[in-house]
């Protein structure tokens, strides 16, 4: 099993709910109106010490250690890299969307421009070039970070 090496850390204290991450992601992947690969949401306002408060949540693909979408894909288009990034191989995808049905959070989405599935791949092409994902690179308040996970005690790198 390829354990995931990266995760996105969302600092809710710094997040202002401006939805820039959603746009930066879409623009980087040239997505049409429809699929949104990462999402900012919040609960309705609630009084905390007499101040109406809420916190923002960020959600994109969890890049599961044992992804159901990969198992469900009939053409082998949904793959998991050695570093744990789960992604769609567009050359193999037929757009059947079984992956979305298999995913407990329905993360994979249909891209009407290509007729195939699409999901967050942590901008693996950017990571491979030593860069950070689009949502992290351009987050308005630097609330998003790309975090490298490693076993306890193992040195970084």
């Amino acid at each position: 099993m390829n354990l995931r090496r990266y995760t996105l850390y969302h600092n809710a204290k710094r997040c202002i709910g401006c939805h820039a991450c959603e746009i930066h992601c879409k623009v980087n992947k040239s997505l049409p109106v429809g699929p949104i690969l990462c999402e900012i949401s919040c609960q309705p306002l609630k009084r905390v010490k007499n101040i109406p408060k809420t916190e923002f949540l960020f959600r994109s693909c969890y890049h599961c250690d044992d992804p159901l979408c990969v198992a469900a894909c009939p053409t082998g288009a949904m793959k998991k890299r050695e570093d744990g990034i789960v992604f769609v191989d567009e050359t193999r995808c037929v757009g059947c969307m079984l992956c979305a049905g298999a995913c407990p959070w329905h993360i994979p989405q249909y891209n009407p421009a290509t007729g195939k599935a699409i999901k967050c791949d942590l901008c693996k092409d950017r990571i491979d070039r030593g860069l950070k994902p689009a949502c992290v690179s351009k987050c308005t308040t630097k609330a998003l970070e790309l975090v490298e996970l490693r076993p306890w005690g193992e040195p970084p790198g």
Binding site: I16, G17, C18, E22, K26, V33, N50, C139
Partner: protein
């Protein structure tokens, strides 16, 4: 894209924009949703693609697509005819404002008209005039060092939604550092949820709260006596004036407990001078907004926060860095001595004659007093979206023989005008050099990232074509942008290539602060001091302080209409952007829970929002976190340009509901009173009762 104009860096491949990010040196790559969605604007075909001349009645949507030669010829011929008949003064040019307005101001003067103006009377004029009356320095005369402050106080300045990337990061850094945030508004906002103190005030009572705070500050002695003694005049008059306005009195007026106001002052007493009362941008709200703005400036002075880290830092220019400023286009022309048609400078001597007040030109159009106005050219300014009561505006515009819109998108004004000269988007055009004043001044410009998608031109190219055809080449002899840059930069000693490294040219590497004991002469008031009592206003028989008048309560069934911004849209000009429209396709009407209950309105119900003759139907957002007297909506929606298919007739337009407010101005500040409209709300009969399907 948006008028904050955050500096950006763009990556291009084969004339396609691949990546837009915030300038790495100034913003560390950060950019908001609107900045990121620039690619969608660039590739959007629902924007003017070639010059257009109206072929039916105004607003009919009948257009002839023409060449640039023909469009410029048409505009020039019309202008020449109007100038021959009514004089050059009958031409008004208005812009959005901002760093490049110099180009159009100079063009106006070159034509021979004194009537250059911008959108500011529906925006920051009250703040600007109040700032001038206190410091002798305008609205942009200070940089706020929010990052290093101890306590930021915001009066309706929704700083995290109506956002600029650099400013937002200052606020978040300040909060991370343990700084305190107090937020005052008539509803809860994305900014208020981060606050340590949130005051929901009765709409229109900001001035009362500010007076109560000043009173309490003086009562507790929580001000910088040394600074006040040394640099201000009129303190005794101020103290005498605020005496009756106690915290208890303010509490009754705005619905905040007196004890809370006192506790707040006790807190800032320990934090001053590093306490900032944000001066705000858009304070065209109520009839006393000028005096409320003045009170904000006065509180900053009482904190003694001038010229210190964590306070208000006087904006520095090129000279402070030992550099000559870049040349301006206005230096090439002589300002016509003619009186302005808006009366600013002669009839209204207390207003800044630099840009005057846009809405007053409508009065001149209708009355022909002091003289007729026959042409209006709007550059990136959409008065029909930005000013109240478009129908009243159109009545005045009827008197004009020529309306020209220069814009990147179909503004409502463009749709109503006679000629549309389409400007290239910010990714397809260059701009002249401008100077960013501040604690760390720098020079900046915009470079062309990609070639224009359509038959559009840059602002300087449009001015160049007009100048050539009108024989104004003395004013504007330039044919290439490089010529402009070189001419502008010559006195500075820099070259256009110097922008390559960072995208801007820093004039200093550290913030410049004047020594705090040598601020004499830095305030450009008549006395050279900070004036609690303004000598200029007093000389014109205008009081420096105004007795508080309680705002009217809305009659039964009616509510005060207030408006604001969302972080994914900028005013009216991004509503049709495909990506931003996907995130926020329509606005809603916020209404207080108890009031909604009385009216039988539930969350998501359709409600009718009714003024005298205008009605909109939108979904209701029912919440306890808005004052019961107010209803709120996001500005910019309810557009009526059929070519903008995504935003056509979607949502509610606050300015169209503001019937009768076009000349409703704060008489001392010059700002319009945009929050003084009461509208009727009812549950719409359009809510489906049942559904029949075959």
């Amino acid at each position: 894209m948006c008028t904050v104009r955050c500096p950006i860096r763009v990556e291009v491949e084969d004339n396609e924009v691949k990546w837009i990010e915030g300038n790495p040196y100034l913003l560390g790559g950060s950019l908001c949703a609107r900045g990121g969605a620039g690619v969608a604007l660039l590739n959007d075909c629902e924007r003017p693609q070639t010059p257009m001349i109206r072929s039916g009645p105004r607003g009919s949507g009948k257009w002839e697509q023409v060449s640039w030669e023909k469009a410029i010829q048409y505009v020039a011929e019309k202008l020449e005819k109007i100038i021959a008949r009514y004089g050059a003064r009958s031409v008004v040019v208005s812009t959005r404002g901002g760093p490049w307005q110099d180009l159009f101001k100079a063009f106006t003067f070159a034509l021979g008209s004194p009537n250059y103006t911008n959108h500011d009377s529906a925006c920051g004029r009250n703040v600007h005039h109040a700032s001038l009356s206190v410091y002798g320095l305008g609205r942009k005369g200070f940089d706020l060092d929010i990052r290093n402050t101890e306590h930021l106080v915001l009066f309706g300045r929704n700083i995290l939604s109506s956002l600029g990337v650099a400013e937002v990061n200052q606020v978040m850094d300040m909060l991370d550092r343990g700084g305190r945030l107090t937020y005052v508004d008539v509803r809860q906002t994305l900014t208020g949820i981060k606050a340590h103190r949130f005051w929901l005030v009765r709409p229109g009572t900001d001035y009362a709260l500010l007076l109560g705070i000043i009173n309490e500050v003086l009562r507790q002695g929580a001000y910088d006596k040394e600074f006040v003694d040394r640099y201000t005049e009129g303190f005794e008059e101020l103290a005498a004036f605020v005496e009756p306005y106690t915290a208890e009195w303010a509490a009754r007026e705005c619905g905040i407990r007196a004890g809370e106001i006192k506790k707040f002052v006790e807190e800032i007493a320990t934090q001053r001078p590093r306490v900032i009362f944000h001066r705000g941008w858009m304070l065209a709200r109520y009839r006393d907004s000028f005096y409320a703005s003045r009170a904000i400036h006065i509180l900053n002075v009482l904190m003694g926060n001038i010229e210190i880290p964590g306070g208000q830092i006087i904006a520095k220019g090129a000279a402070d860095c030992g550099v000559q400023p870049p040349r301006s286009f206005t230096s090439r022309v002589k300002k016509p001595e003619e009186k302005r048609a808006d009366g600013v400078g002669w009839k209204y001597r207390h207003f800044d004659p630099g840009v005057g007040l846009f809405h007053l030109f409508y009065e001149a159009m209708l009355t022909e007093d002091p003289y007729p106005i026959k042409a209006l050219i709007c550059y990136r300014h959409d008065p029909l979206t930005c000013f109240p009561d478009p129908e009243a505006q159109k009545e005045a515009l009827e008197r004009c023989e020529l309306l020209v819109a220069i814009d990147t998108h179909y503004s409502e004004f463009a749709w109503w005008s006679d000629v549309i000269l389409p400007e290239s988007t910010y990714l397809e055009r260059e701009t002249p050099v401008a100077l960013k004043r501040g604690a760390k001044p720098y020079l900046f410009l915009r470079q062309r990232a990609v070639e224009p998608r359509f038959n559009t031109r840059a602002n300087w190219e449009i001015v160049s074509m007009l100048a050539e055809r009108l024989g104004l080449t003395d004013f504007f002899p330039f044919r290439r942008i490089e010529e402009i840059w070189e001419w502008q930069l010559e006195p500075t000693g820099y070259r256009p290539e110097d922008f390559q490294e960072k995208g801007f040219i820093p004039l200093t590497d550290h913030p410049i602060l004047y020594p705090r004991d040598q601020l004499e002469g830095k305030f450009k008031t008549p006395s050279g001091k900070i004036e609690f009592v303004s000598r200029k206003l007093e000389s014109l028989d205008i009081p420096s302080f105004k007795a508080y008048q309680s705002p009217a309560r809305p009659p039964k069934g009616r509510y005060r209409l207030v408006f604001g911004r969302a972080p994914v849209h900028t005013h009216g000009h991004t509503i049709n952007n495909p990506l931003l429209n996907e995130l926020m396709p329509e606005n809603t009407l916020w209404i207080n829970q108890r009031e909604a209950q009385k009216l039988g309105i539930e969350e998501g119900d359709l409600v009718d929002v009714i003024a005298e003759t205008v009605k909109f139907t939108v979904k209701a957002h029912v919440t306890e976190f808005i004052h019961p007297e107010a209803v709120y909506t996001v500005h910019g929606f309810g557009r009526e340009v059929p070519y903008q298919s995504r935003s056509y007739k979607v949502g509610l337009s606050d300015q169209k509901l503001m019937e009768g407010l076009l000349q409703h101005m704060d008489p001392v500040g010059g700002g319009l009173c945009l929050c003084e409209k009461f509208v009727t709300i009812r549950r719409s009969p359009q809510n489906p009762k049942r559904r029949v399907e075959l």
